[in-house]
Symmetry: C2
Subunit: 185 residues, 2 copies
């Protein structure tokens, strides 16, 4: 952030009066430009003993498999966002059940929220950000080809709870991957 989006003047980074953190401040028009974490919303669409996954057509993780999910938009609820993303990415209609995972990913400033969902029909197909949509039984989930750790965590909890016969909500933090320990130049 270099310029004030309100008046166009140069931005400075400093701790405003009464605040505790450095912010992007415009001293020309006295605006503080806050930056905050983003919410990613999605669903686990279930049909009988199968879960719907999408193969990503865009970066990051092009070609990897994910649950339908994306950034929550202005003017919608978390649930509306999860339904919308499922429709956009998988052209699928779902009936949402309970919130299943709420996973904070502080190193990328995101919170990922997934609902369990019942797929309402089999008329699904790839949206513009998806290469392929398919249903997988547990044994056929491409575990090595899952796009994001929040999706892997969500699917892992889903099958563990399913085996147990009871679904509960899972709240976790997904921390930055450990260093590989490789040499750095």
């Amino acid at each position: 952030m270099n310029f004030c989006s309100n008046c166009g003047a140069a931005i400075v980074v400093r701790v405003p009066d009464g605040d505790t953190l450095p912010r992007h401040v415009c001293d020309a028009c006295d605006t503080i430009h806050y930056r905050n974490p983003l919410v990613v919303v999605g669903s686990i669409p279930v049909w009988e003993d199968q879960v719907l996954l999408c193969k990503r057509a865009i970066e990051p993780r092009l070609g990897k498999w994910t649950l339908p999910a994306g950034f929550m938009e202005l003017g919608e609820s978390v649930a509306q966002g999860a339904i919308r993303e499922t429709e956009e990415e998988a052209r699928a209609r779902v009936s949402l059940e309970d919130v299943f995972t709420m996973l904070s990913v502080p190193h990328v400033n995101q919170v990922h929220i997934f609902y369990r969902a019942q797929l309402l029909d089999l008329n699904f197909g790839p949206g513009s950000e998806t290469l392929e949509v398919a249903l997988f039984t547990e044994g056929r989930i491409p575990w090595q080809e899952i796009a994001f750790r929040t999706v892997l965590t969500t699917l892992t909890h889903f099958y563990a709870d399913r085996r147990r016969g009871a679904y509960s909500m899972h709240t976790e933090d997904i921390l930055a991957p450990k260093s590989t320990g490789g040499y750095k130049r």
Copy 2:
């Protein structure tokens, strides 16, 4: 949003290629400036049969009572944010229990998330945005003086669940208040 925060050029509002919603776009440096909902995080600090509330020292709702809560910051988890806000607003230390409410407020583009929490000691007091901090038994909660509907909803569910002897998670949408039906000029 009038100017590009990256290059300072004028912003136009249009639907970018491949998108479905109007965005703030800079055609000079090809940046799309997305705007997304904000997360508000807080806690329900409990001491024996009492709940801690804060009397607000700032607008909006100056002088009204609220649970300690505020905007989630970059680089923290939802839980870390709830603990931090409780410390900042009530100078109180809590041990978080389960997530209790996740309330979407689409007309103000916010999601409010509250954890149940145990107050660890009685060394609390007003932070800079708080006039007064106090513990209330259910019968003494100032129900008519609660600052926000998400706090009222959270406290209502809290006491209903407490009476029932079992806490569950509550996910709801708080919609815009209905028109008063009064004449408009």
